[in-house]
Structures are given as structure tokens and as C-alpha cells.
């Protein structure tokens, strides 16, 4: 298994979240509870999933690979968006 310390490997973060127009019941529940327990100053909550991928980046194609993984697998383009960032 590749570790981030192995030569040529890079870590990438993929954050997947629901599109803004899609209701997220979990986020709504969190915000409602925050309001109830006294944190009325919190005006919006978004919940996302964060994946950390360690990939072979020797050819410099790591970001392209991760983008493809996110697009094809980690996110569902029907309901979700994603962002990729090199760590």
C-alpha cells in the first residue's frame, strides 16, 4: 500500500457535497438543533464528505487521476458537486 511518504506519491483531498438546490435533511437537522441550543448565530450548515487519496504522482498526472475518480465514482453528478485539492 502506498504511503504518502513513498517517493512520487501525493495526497489529494476530495470534498463532495450536495448541490445547493438539493435539500440536505442532515444539515437542516444540525442547524435546527444549533438554533435550539442557543447558537442562533449560525445561519447555514453544509455537510460534506471528505476523502483523502494517496496516489502515484510520479508522472504529474495525480490531479487528473483524482479528478476522474471524483467525477466517476466519489460524487454523483446528478445531485452532488466536488472539489479537488492537493494537500
Amino acid at each position: 500500500m502506498a504511503s504518502v511518504d513513498s517517493p512520487g506519491s501525493s495526497e489529494f483531498e476530495v470534498v463532495v457535497r450536495l448541490k445547493p438546490e438539493v435539500l440536505d435533511p442532515e444539515a437542516r437537522a444540525i442547524q435546527e438543533t444549533l438554533t435550539r441550543i442557543g447558537y442562533a448565530g449560525v445561519k447555514a450548515v453544509q455537510v460534506s464528505k471528505r476523502y483523502i487519496l494517496t496516489v502515484d504522482d510520479r508522472s504529474g498526472q495525480g490531479a487528473t487521476l483524482v479528478d476522474s475518480v471524483a467525477r466517476e465514482f466519489l460524487a454523483n453528478p446528478v445531485s452532488e458537486t466536488f472539489q479537488v485539492r492537493k494537500l
Binding site: L18, L23, D24, P25
Partner: protein, 238 residues
Amino acid sequence: MKRFTSTGTPRIGLIDFPGSNCDKDCADAFWRHFGIRLQPVWHTERSLPKLDAVLLPGGFSYGDYLRSGALAAHSPIMTEVKSFVAKGGPALGICNGFQILTESHLLPGALLRNNSRKFICKPVDLMAGSGESVYGRSLAGRRLKMPIAHGEGRYYVDDDGLRRLKDHGQVAFRYVDQAGVPSLEANPNGTRDNIAGIVSENGRVLGLMPHPERATDLLIGGSADGLAILESFLSSFM
């Protein structure tokens, strides 16, 4: 289009994933009511036996990890199922099977967490839509009662997608109230336009969240309306 054998007993593949849990209910319903033995096909298989149709049962394939149906959609057997469907083969996906069909892009849209945040298990009333599919032709306007049992059954598609579904007569079932109206009160999970089930553009693939196989005996669940849907599925290739 490929011709499917219509002689003898139909051969229906029951696609089993780790976490499928409605497979035996489906097998029981098809055997007792139609004398058909479903043929179990394990998710790791890389070929399908000679089949007339495939059935994707409900459950929690792969523990619903990533998204409901997402990992199952990438299992080896789904490559074969996609190829079968591409040749015009009929498919029926129930509950998790519907989620797998959308994640496999065999049906448009996505199934998201219920807006109530609750797992809902209760009987619902459905109204069958019209359309050119075998389901539309045989069931249009019929009221059917059967159970739903899901935590992630909120059908989502964007405005353009919804318009396409309507324009092509692909809305197969909608949740309705006692008066037969697809009202807000009848919508159990926040699904768009009260959609409970849709068919593919060619009408050969049906996905629905309600469980027709659980409504095949009056003694269990108080409704046998599910038989009408299973019969329509059979009539699509018999």
C-alpha cells in the same frame, strides 16, 4: 433488437449483492404466483446465463456505503446487466434495485435521503402513470397499495430531467392520497413530483421504491396489488 425467448418458463436472473435482503421475498412471490423459479446470480459473476429479464431486489447492497447503490453499480455483474439492458433486455429494480439502476445510469436521477430523516416503513397508495411502456399500457390510472421501506427514497432529478421524464411518459408511479391526488400529504419522503417509480426511455427498465413483492398476499400486508406490477414485468417479455 435482440429477440428474447418466449417459449417455456421465462428465465429471470435475480441479481444478488452482499446486503440484498428482499431476494427471497421476490423468489417466493414469483414461484408461488407464477410458477417461476428465479435464477440467482451473484455480484461477482462476469457473465449472465441465458436470460429473458433481470431483477434487482431490495436491501442494503454493500452496506449503502458511498451512496445507496453506488458500489453495487460498479460490481462485476453490472457490466453484464448494462450490456443486457443495452440490447433491449427488460429489468426491474425494486428499492435498492432502483438505487442501483440510477447509480448505473440505466435510469436517470438519484435517490436521496428522505426529507423526514426517518426510515419509513408503511403502506402507500400509488397511481400508475400512462406512457408507452408495458407498465403504462397495462396499468395507467390504476390505484395500487403496497409498502415502502426505505431511508433514501427521495427521487431527485433537475428541472430539465423532470420535464424529459414527463414528455416521454416515463413517470411510472406516483404517491397519491386517498382521493387519488398526488398531494404534498401523500408524499412520504420529499420526492420530486411525488415520483415513486420511473421507466427508461425505451420503457424496458422499471425502477420503483415501493415493494410489489411484499404485496402479493392479502394475508401478509393486506394487499395483493403488487402482483399487477409483477405481471406487467412478465408481460414485457412473455
